[in-house]
Symmetry: C2
Amino acid sequence: MEFRFEQGLPVLQRTPGTLRALLLELPDDWIRATEGPGTWSPFDVVGHLIHGERTDWVPRIEHMLRHGDAVPFPPFDREAMIAASRGVALRELLDTFDLLRAQSLDRLAALGLTDSDLARRGRQPEFGVVTMGQHLAAWLAHDLSHVGQVVRVMARQYSDAVGPWRAYLSILS
Amino acid sequence: MEFRFEQGLPVLQRTPGTLRALLLELPDDWIRATEGPGTWSPFDVVGHLIHGERTDWVPRIEHMLRHGDAVPFPPFDREAMIAASRGVALRELLDTFDLLRAQSLDRLAALGLTDSDLARRGRQPEFGVVTMGQHLAAWLAHDLSHVGQVVRVMARQYSDAVGPWRAYLSILS
């Protein structure tokens, strides 16, 4: 399917609540778990999503409305949250993500876009021309991808603990 | 890490709330989406998790306490929910899963097990002797695996819609 506002926005609305339901007050063994050096923990993922709200998703929609595909989007630093989240409690990160996502969707609504705007063009710094519909579909798939990452990182803490079950749980391999 | 009650139970408690936050009142385009013929939708996954509460996870703990590894667990029909869920609203499935999971964790608590019981043995019909710790770790990893499946199935509805973003979103391939 193609991105449509009526169908896609409800998914974007649910991501902060999903991560809160999954992560809030879990033991640090889960929150800080990674898949090895240089990989992200659930804590890091929430920080990354916050950074995306601040600098990527709606800011790029606004950039696209202002410049079309004449000026590339400013680049997005996908590791910026590592420093920004240091010393912050997970609860605070979840609250911030919740607030920023609600603000993002409010800003988006205030732009008064409809499905007929989804063919508008912008310029992604890495891969060139993208449409607004592609950008919005990517926002949603990016959310879901990071929820998938969080559950995968958590599950893999038990890769050995499950014993012979390992062969039956594709998330572990 | 190995399964420990104190660390693992909080994850098991959160699965129904996570799926509710993610799925409740989403358009059917998402709830009924699959990855193709013979694959499961988010709706099917919730039904499968309900069936696991009824016949697999705690029932097998009780079986293990009664029979050790002398008698294999009764087999689990992983497709049984297809018929059982037909015509049921997603909200009702989510409520049922919530209730059954809470009851499962109550039953488990009533057994008074501690981490020293985790070496107890049972017999899985497909792969032979498993420990209680492996079974409990598998319960948790199975939950997370199915949450991961739900977000993957949803994200893949936009595999084409994201355009050039596809190469950057590993969940889509």
